[in-house]
């Protein structure tokens, strides 16, 4: 099954709704707690990145027999140096976002850590595409 969520840039009222929606679907299907926890962390972090840094974007959940896939796209400012952005502690969050508890420089590292496959492509000025895969039985068969 697939389910797509629209994400609006700077819409902190709806922020988190996509991640909560993803979690509810995975719970209703009956996945194990650990994989739900990992997908939820990644869905939340990626959704918040679009809200904070992106122009509008989308989060697509794909559920198959052996894997859960999250694809997140936005048409925002893009990432100039992906390697640097993946370093824990590096952040380009604004002062306003830091005041709200974002900008720890943990977003992308959290996603990388909690997914089994983590792919990112981005160009400055051309948006960002993220694809994360979670193996349902802990290993790929």
């Amino acid at each position: 099954m697939k389910k797509e969520y629209e994400i609006k840039a700077r819409d902190f009222v709806r922020a988190g709704k996509a991640a909560i929606g993803v979690q509810n679907i995975l719970k209703s299907i009956g996945f194990e707690q650990d994989i739900i926890r990992r997908v939820s962390i990644c869905a939340y972090e990626s959704e918040m990145n679009v809200v904070m840094h992106g122009a509008d974007g989308s989060l697509l959940l794909g559920v198959e027999n052996k894997e859960i896939v999250l694809e997140v796209r936005d048409s925002g400012e893009g990432i100039e140096d992906i390697e640097l952005a993946l370093k824990e502690g590096y952040s380009t969050a604004s002062e306003e976002h830091r005041d709200m508890g974002f900008g720890a420089g943990m977003g992308l590292p959290n996603m990388k850590k909690h997914s089994n496959v983590f792919e990112i492509s981005s160009q400055k000025g051309n948006g960002t595409y993220l694809r994360m895969v979670f193996w349902v039985n802990g290993n790929r068969e």
Binding site: F12, V13, A15, G16, K17, A19, I20, Q23, Q33, S40, I41, Y44, E45, M48, M100, G101, F102, A104, M106, G107, N110, K113, H114
Partner: protein, 114 residues
């Protein structure tokens, strides 16, 4: 020791600003943090979450992590949008004039996490 949210409110005289119908939730431990990425990665279901953050983004984090209740410490308050969103998600938000450290010590003395 497991406490219920209601017992924590009564023991420490905390103001409940949202989620009054969910005070029977069990609290199995706690987590302190003001960085949302830290809390989303490291808190556990059933935790009470102590933070100085009162803006609406705390609600989605608490909902996603099945946090039993949020305690906003240091005499800070929750924004009106936060309360409205917390009501919608069924998240209890409690207010304390104490610091996160003081509140954590008190919860420990009450037996939480032991």
């Amino acid at each position: 020791m497991i406490l219920r949210v209601r017992e924590i409110c009564d023991l420490f005289n905390l103001d409940v600003v949202s989620g009054k119908s969910n005070l029977d939730r069990e609290v199995t431990g706690g987590y302190c943090g003001d960085l949302l990425s830290d809390v989303i990665a490291n808190s556990s279901a059933g935790n009470v979450w102590l933070t100085i953050q009162g803006h609406q983004n705390i609600v989605a984090v608490a909902a996603l992590k099945q946090i039993s209740a949020i305690i906003i410490v240091n005499g800070r308050s929750a924004d009106a949008e936060t309360v409205a969103k917390a009501e919608e998600e069924g998240i209890s938000i409690l207010l304390s004039s104490k610091s996160a450290f003081e509140m954590t010590c008190l919860l420990g003395q009450a037996g939480l996490g032991k």
